[in-house]
Every structure is written in C-alpha cells, then in structure tokens.
Symmetry: C2
Amino acid sequence: MQFRVAILGCGTVGGGVARILLEQREALGERAGREVVLARIVDLMPDASAKRHSIPRKFYAGDGAELTPAQADAEIKKVLQDPNIDLVVETIGGSGPEILAVARGVLEAGKHLVTANKALLAKHSADLLTAARKNGKGVGFEAAVSAAIPIIKGLNECLTGDEIQSISGIMNGTSNYILSKMTAEGEGFADALRDAQAKGYAEADPTLDINGGDAGHKLTLVLRLAFGLELAFEDLPRQGIDTVTAGDVAFAHEMQGVIKLICHAQRVGDAVHAAVCPMIVKHTNLLSKIDGATNAIRVMGRYAGEIVLIGQGAGSLETGSAIVSDIVFLARHGEHALPKVATTDFDLRPLGELELPYNIVFETADMPGMTGIVTTAIGRQRINIDTVSHNRHQVDHAEFAIATMSCTRAQVEWAVRDIQANHPGALLGEPRILPILV
Amino acid sequence: MQFRVAILGCGTVGGGVARILLEQREALGERAGREVVLARIVDLMPDASAKRHSIPRKFYAGDGAELTPAQADAEIKKVLQDPNIDLVVETIGGSGPEILAVARGVLEAGKHLVTANKALLAKHSADLLTAARKNGKGVGFEAAVSAAIPIIKGLNECLTGDEIQSISGIMNGTSNYILSKMTAEGEGFADALRDAQAKGYAEADPTLDINGGDAGHKLTLVLRLAFGLELAFEDLPRQGIDTVTAGDVAFAHEMQGVIKLICHAQRVGDAVHAAVCPMIVKHTNLLSKIDGATNAIRVMGRYAGEIVLIGQGAGSLETGSAIVSDIVFLARHGEHALPKVATTDFDLRPLGELELPYNIVFETADMPGMTGIVTTAIGRQRINIDTVSHNRHQVDHAEFAIATMSCTRAQVEWAVRDIQANHPGALLGEPRILPILV
C-alpha cells in the first residue's frame, strides 16, 4: 500500500522535500516498508517553484503561472479531502490563525502532519498534539529545531533511557555566523551583520535571528520534549546579540572563551532554569568550536553524561532531509509515532537564579583606584573573583572585565548598584554582564 | 499492562541497566506508555552483584552466593519460559555458540532482545534479525556501538531522509585515550598503554582495543545499517595502533593534524570503501578535537551535509542508558520497532583503492640527496606532493615525512618499491604510511 504525501508551500524548504522524495523514492520505500509517493504540491507560484527546484510541473495544483489565494485555498481543501493522501507537509510558514487552521485541518482530516514551522509550534504545539491524539495521527517536526540535527527524535526516541540534567545549544545559525565573524576578525556587530546579509546568512529583516526570538522558539519546543514543560513562548527570558561589542569579544578571548548565543536549560530539583542569551563559552566546551552557520546541541544526561549533536541548522536540502525522515518515521510507525511526552510539575525559573560564573565588563573613568572600588564591591556581595582582565585605557576612559566564580545574577547586580551608589560617576554606563558556560 | 524486563548477566553493564530501571521507573513508564518493570536478574554471583550495584537481592534468581552453571542455565530457561517477561537484556558477553543460543532463544520464546554484545552481533546479527522477524519481535542494540551515542537509532530512525555518503568515527575509547596521551605528552605507545591500564581505560589484555578488532565489530554493524552491506567481520580490513610511533605523532602535528584510530566507510558509486586504521585527522575536522575515552561519529549525508555525534563510548551507566532507551523504544513501538534495513548490491572495497591524501614517514640513511631521491620517485607515480616535513637528523639516520595530495595506496606503494629497487640501502625499513582525513 502506497504512503502518499502532499506538500503545501513549495519554497526553499518544501522544494528540498520534493526533490528528496523524487530522488530517493526507492530507498525511502525500503526504509518505510511501503512505497513513499509524492502525490501533490500546492504553491502560489507553481511555474516558478517547479523551475527553481527542477520538479516536474505535473505535481503542482493549478494550470497557470500563479494561483490566486482563493484558488490555493480550494486546492488545499482538495488535498485535505483526498482519502488517498496519508501525510501533509506544511511548509507555508507563518504563525497566524489561517496557518494554524490548515495544520489543524490536516490532522482533523485524518492525515499525519509534518512541519518545520517553529513559530507555529512554539505557540500551538499543545493544540496540534491534542488534535493529533484525538485523530490517531502523528505530528513530525524534526526540522523545526536545528534542521538537520536529529534533536527531536533524539529526545523523543533516543535519549529516553536517561534523566536529562541540562541542554545547551547553538540553535541559530545567523547569530552564530555573526559572532564567529566578530571573533575571527575583531569586527563590530554592525559590520558583521552587514557581511552576513551580503552572504545570504541573514535576512533583510534579521530581527528574529538577532533578538533571540528564533532561538527562543526552538528552546520552547526543546523544553517541552526534554522536561515536559508546558511553557508559553512569551515566558522564556530572551536576550539578543545586538548589544555584544568587539570589546566583549576581546575580553572573552582573554579568558579563553568565545561569545555564543546559547539556548540554555538546566534542571535543579523541581525547577528548570532557562533562557536564550549570549554567553561566554570556555574553550574547553565543545560548543566553543562550532563556528559559522553550524548548529550544535549539548545534552547532559544523569547517566550518559555529555552528548553533543552537531549539524546544519538551515538550508533547503538540509531541512528537507529532516522532514523526509519524519515522513519515513510516520510511514513506518503510524499511530505508534505519537510522542509520549509526560507533562511535569517543573517550575520554569530564570537563568539568573542559578549560580553561574559571570563576566562583567566595566567602563570607568580613567583614574587610579577603580579596580579597588569595583573588586571591593564585588567582594562585599560574597562573590569570589576568578580573574581580572587587562585594563584597556582609552582616550578618556578605561575598560576592564572581571570574571567571577559561581554566583547569582542578583549578587552581581547588587555589586553594581553598590558601586553606583557609593561612587557616583565612577562607572560610565551600565556594566555588561554575561554568564559563562564551562 | 506492564512491560516486564529480565536481565541476564549483571556485571558492569547489566548493573547499570538495573539501576536505571529502578531509579527511573515512573519516568520510563510515562515515556513507554506502559509501566516498565524490572522482573528478574540472573547472574552467577547474585550476592556480589546486588551489593556492587546496590540492587535489592530479591530481584536475583537463586538463594546462595553463587549459582552453578547448571543452576544459571535452569534460571535462564525459566526466564525464557515465563509468559510474563516481555523483553530480555543479554549482558553476559561472549560470542560463542552458547550465548548465540541464549540470544536466539529469547526471540524464539517470543520476547524482545536487547544486547550490547558487539562481538556477537558482528558475527550473527543477520541470524538474530531473521529470528526476530520470524517471531514478530525486535532486537535493540543501541549500546553495541559507542554506548551512549545514539548512532543505531540515529541510522535506523533519524537519518532516514538522506543518502549517506560516508561515515568516519572514533569508536574505541581505549585507543583514543592512548593516542590522545601520545599526542599531549609525546609519549611512545608502550608508555601510553601502561598509563591507560593503570587508569582503568585499558584491560589487562588490551588486544581487541589495540588491534582494531573492537572498532571493527562496530564498523561492521554500522556498515549493515548505513549501507545494507551484509559483510563478514573477517572481510573488513583492520589495522591497529600498536605500530604508531611518537615520531608519527610529531609529524602529524607538524602538518596540523592528530593521529586517531578511525572507522571509515565511504560510498563511491556502487562500492563502499571501508577500513579501520590509524589516520591523520586534520585540525579542521571536528574528530581531531575528540580526546580521551570519548567517542565521536561523523556522518556525511548527500542532503544534510555533515552531522557529528559525540558521547561516551563505555561505562556502566552510559551503556545502561543506551540499553534502557532500547527498552523504551520496544515497549512503545512493539513490532513496529523492527529495523527495515534494505540489503543492497554494494561491493565492499578496501580503503586503499580510494583516492586519499597520504602521509609517508621515511627513515633514511643520513646523507645528502635523499629528499631528491624520494620526491622524484613519488613524482614518477604522478602523485602531487603537498608538504615535505622538516628532516629530523638522528645519530646515524634521518627521518622525514611527505604528505601527498589525493592518490591511491597502490601509487604510494609503487613509489616506495621504486626507491627500494633503484637506491638499495637508502631506506631503513619500510616507510610508515597513514591516510589523511580532511
């Protein structure tokens, strides 16, 4: 019996899926235990999509060069009503009510759903998984987190014999490209962003990549799978990389580390501390070696210890490969493919409550005694100091950094307020505080 | 309905499995969709095993401190005949006919089998998978290759949307520990081995770790899953690390690389070229960063590009965690858990037929003109030279290395024979030839 697949939206990712389905038809059939067939593609621009991805035009719905939105809706409806379609790949994108309705409609029509849509899932995965269970169908979303890295099946099917203690990941290739560029060439953020845009690693509007939003969508999904935490995306603390300076990068280097945008989640008793934020990753941690647009995820298991998964986090065929693996999984396992994720009573807590080492960059007036003022205030908060960096004397001010031993973010902030209160004018601007990942 | 598990052989690995099953009972039940229960342990030394792993004695068969082999056989028979046992973990070890009979007996008794026994599987996996299919049961062996790294489910369930082009792995922790030690401290092989034995990273008889046998067992399994290649373990070319010298390590360092024992398999058309052998891994390759007893596997997909998985390749709880993930998988997916591995018509070919860069270390008489003699002979085989290392002048001889551009091993060997034939006495001993992994 054939396993028939329709693709809704055939742009970069959908086109990759269609190509792999056509090129690997025989091998996929053997792996799935039944023939896997590309049955139908619905796209607003069928001619252009067919040409761009070298896919025969006959797979596309509609006759002309373009479908009107009404025609596209009608074609999608036909797919959902077609009893011979077993699985629908949603690669339209967006997270508004229309796309949610399409995704839910797939499941309610008794078909499996596969999607790479992290924004939609971050908001509505509970809703979609409920619809899947009700209809005895599966939802595949391997491609939604770090594309080619098998972290979703990794958590759902592979690391199931363990108790996960923490997860730290580089899950946004654009920001990693920018930070790698700043590290390798001493560039400032704005120059590195322009370079990323010129090379196609960053969109014209890079907001979601830069502000931690995209990484936050992914961490939201990972928190649900790894810890059963039903959090709302909005509740996840996020900080972007646009405030990272060339000076911060240099201080990180001086203390044997590099700055990375890290999705971090750590279990402590009944709480999971989580955030997306730039962190200084020490050279001893493998994540520090991951440069450019590559993604990497480090899972610490109570029993297995450290497991690191590395791969491409974006790209047409890279993402397509992950989606096709979901298709094979659903064709093979059917209803058994539903993830059995336990919901738990974990509390989501901010990362700042954890005891972590911090690096604090102070801009100060260039006058003697500043190091004493700052280190004394830090000592008063019972924070142990690990290293004091070289002082960089500028024209009219100085910049230096202090790396602490483990403490809470609140302790660091009290120390800063102490300096500000007792030595007005000593600090020029707010110190820049980054957690350190060992 | 409970899912009941028996463990045969409760040493290092079996004990890890039992501990995790007891400590994680609730979480495992939620993930499996049914209660996962440790039902029975059979071990020759129940008192000692219970004490060592802090497992209540009541789980063990037998009353005394020891079971006779006949008593153990009878207890194993009871487990196989018990209709309330769903899955049997075989952690006895060995690959002789008795252990094959036990493993086959588990499947013929209508129970799932989970094992970490790479030696048994390398010889008999086809036999066991046939028995599993016939009885509608599954065989889990996640722990058999690189313990905590999810490479088995990775290949069977996760990277199924791709066409694998090559796999290169560090799959033996002992040899990696020894080579890392030689690299970090300039030690010779014998000293590094003694250190590994003193620290418990190498057994008193380290033969299988040192000669590539253990890594070969693992690559045999990986070749079956990744390429459907039904090879006999004996047909896989293997070379160990006992011939690697401190000088080779130094030459590797000079050319920006480190020596690792690599399991390599590469698809070219209808052939898969494979071998276990020491290779020089360039610093640009992530595998070069994997030190100590850690394992790492790099998969190149036609679509996904490079995927690297890193984790612990041994240890009681690390291996136990992988076995328990198999238990959850089989409890959840039942008959659907059978891997659908296609058999293919690939030819297994030696690695030496591939065009690879090579490093050749020459020991020569210490006299002028040697570099010219050697490089001329290499040029006559139409091999391009990448770098000529610094010449190390010793008391009565010299040592230098030449790194080539891509060529076959046969070309390199013809060049060596050319020198030997035309300049008798110029070379002291056989040159040491290592492929380079970029």
